[in-house]
Chain length 175, copies 2
């Protein structure tokens, strides 16, 4: 585990493993994303304790945060873990969330880059996303620009609250 | 939920929802499959209680069994459940296991057919398998013959205990 410092648009932030002290800040980023239900296949009424149990992964997985260097404000968060158990445990899965008011600053990209490096270091051989919502085009483009390719699109696998049924991409890259 | 009676190779069996009385018979079928670790992405040392919690799905999912009509012996078992939560909860995922000494009698096919019917009745719109081991060619062929198509093969996503890294198929069909 390591920390990465970045300075984008003059707002310096660090990416590092999450601690239990970070949880309130993580939840502040996470709750609107879950409630909105447009990009994550989580129950939209997931409560805070369940969310915490789901998100705060343990080794070889990891939960991590992007915090403003100046005051420790959590601007984004991510986690990775084994996508499957047993014979499938060398493939990582990951997720990332950025607070709405911090978007457009490159934080999602930096969180993803951090996870690629850390997952490889933890022994994972590749990373697979199971359910990238097709309509989340900025994310799809971003992951593609980071070396992920769309292996398949499961048709109508996501019921978007505004636009209805859209596909879920399975995306993949080696580490 | 309903029961299906079949008579294949003169051994009559029923497929019906599993009850807690079925668990010892289910575990007898399941344990060798898990320990062997050639077809399921489960930890190979999964203990009985964890296996039970993982397998015995609740509505809208269901765990079910194929039992010999004559004496209630569990010959095979299956389960289905929502593959994702939230906006993805209309897509079912399913798994099936047949006892080694009962293979070749059409039980896997009958379990799958039962799950397709029951999952549709429970409101699922499609069924997705996330991790069909590429080397499990009989299963791949069987699911294809039942209308599933391979949407993608995640390269080297399964470490087979005998043949090493093989792909995991994502398979899919509408209900």
């Amino acid at each position: 585990m390591s920390a990465v410092s970045q300075d984008i648009k003059n707002i310096a932030y660090d990416i590092r493993p999450a601690t239990s002290d970070d949880w309130p800040g993580i939840w502040a980023v996470m709750e609107p994303v879950i409630r909105e239900g447009e990009t994550f296949t989580w129950d939209r009424d997931t409560d805070e304790e369940s969310a915490r149990a789901k998100w705060m992964k343990e080794a070889p997985g990891q939960a991590f945060v992007a915090v403003r260097t100046e005051d420790g404000t959590v601007q984004g968060t991510g986690e990775f873990h084994a996508n499957q158990a047993g014979g499938g445990s060398h493939v990582a899965n990951a997720g990332y969330m950025v607070g709405a008011k911090y978007s457009g600053q490159g934080i999602a990209r930096a969180l993803c880059a951090y996870s690629l490096k850390e997952a490889k270091q933890a022994g994972f051989r590749s990373m697979q996303f199971n359910a990238v919502v097709e309509s989340n085009v900025r994310a799809v483009w971003l992951w593609q620009s980071m070396g992920f390719r769309i292996l398949a699109t499961v048709p109508e696998a996501f019921n978007h609250p505004e636009i209805g049924y859209v596909g879920l991409h399975v995306m993949y890259r080696e580490l």
